[in-house]
Subunit: 237 residues, 2 copies
């Protein structure tokens, strides 16, 4: 089956978690909105379709045959066993999905470091709040979230989060490390020694042949100041 | 099977979405942490279990036999077909879960109206930010989220979100309306005329016999200033 991924064409954003899974699996897919003007028009048409019985709330969403599936973690839950990036048994699938939903929670908190007050003001208009939010994010939230994944890795019985085989959750955790390194190079550098298993996992994923090829390709959109992860010197003491 | 729900005993919080489903289904369950000191100790023991291979990140979580499932939307995804509160076919289950994940996103935004900067400061220490966040929340986000559910209801082919039978998503949307009425009585009063189908759904759910009985019981924890929904006069112009 040829999958159709619909996401904003200029940012990695939440779509990137899906792209990484499709790439690692060598899946047949089209990144629809990146296929020029027509692609973007096709995405907007689906979003605004007045007759759709099951309209997606927001990108990313995936078209798989007649199914249209929105919500990043749900797309991955659907794709997981089909791309051999998740176990097939119910308990294993639920566990992978649970971890992915925890990553989704972390993603919201990463975004909010630079826009805590509202997304309708520029960063420059909410600097003191962003500084305070970022301080607590690194003091309380990063240790809680990444410490959790460090613990899970310590108990998984293999070198991946679910054991000896890589899953879509490993790819997403790789992306989290990449993003935190982009947005907070100094803070992350200091923090990484506390999460050696997470960093080893990141490196392991980053060496997988299809991921290496993808990261070098034009399909990988560069980090920028418009995504979830943004670099502001003053937030990265 | 007797389900064990683990959640903080003094607030509705995210646990309430699970409680409503268990109550509507007349399920056999224990709200563990509300069973006195021993219950709370049992929850903390599970959270801090150093040997658990699949530790939950945070409450709520559900124990179903040997399975321990965290993440509110995932708990409901698991319980849905078992409690006859979701379809059994894959496309229907995915759709229900997609809607519930959108409600989960809304819940984060509701909480952040009163604590936009950080949860480690009191409301009184972040008033101007809370006012600004609340303004944008009602201007942009409530219309987007509740307008979406209004549209879904208009296309469902029945009087519930998934059609003619109630699902766990309907119960959660009922709780969202209850919470917004508690936290923002004036704003919500003005807004409700824009979402007649959502309000009709709320009223329909609120008349279901088991929900009526539950809402009157001591099992329903009252709204308070410690939950997701908090009332501050200055945020409710």
């Amino acid at each position: 089956m040829r999958y159709e991924l619909y996401y904003w064409p200029d940012v990695q954003g939440r779509g990137e978690f899906v792209r990484l899974a499709l790439e690692e699996a060598g899946a047949d897919y089209v990144d629809v909105a990146r296929q020029g003007k027509r692609g973007m028009a096709a995405m907007m048409k689906l979003i605004n379709d007045q007759r759709a019985k099951r309209p997606p709330f927001a990108p990313p969403f995936l078209k798989a045959g007649k199914l249209v599936i929105a919500q990043t973690a749900l797309i991955l839950h659907y794709l997981g066993p089909r791309l051999r990036l998740a176990p097939r048994d119910e308990a294993g699938r639920l566990w992978a999905h649970q971890l992915q939903l925890t990553i989704a929670d972390l993603v919201v908190e990463i975004h909010d470091t630079h826009h805590p007050v509202t997304s309708w003001l520029y960063f420059e208009e909410q600097r003191p709040a962003a500084r305070r939010r970022t301080k607590d994010f690194w003091r309380y939230r990063v240790p809680k979230f990444l410490g959790y994944f460090e613990r899970v890795l310590g108990r998984s019985g293999g070198s991946y989060l679910l054991g000896s085989r890589p899953s879509y959750v490993d790819l997403s955790l790789f992306q989290i490390v990449e993003g935190l390194r982009y947005a907070f190079p100094n803070r992350m550098k200091r923090f990484e020694r506390k999460i050696p298993r997470v960093i080893a996992l990141h490196d392991r994923v980053g060496k997988r042949p299809r991921i290496v090829a993808y990261m070098k390709s034009k399909r990988r959109i560069p980090f920028s100041q418009w995504g979830i992860y943004r670099y502001f010197k003053e937030l990265d003491r």
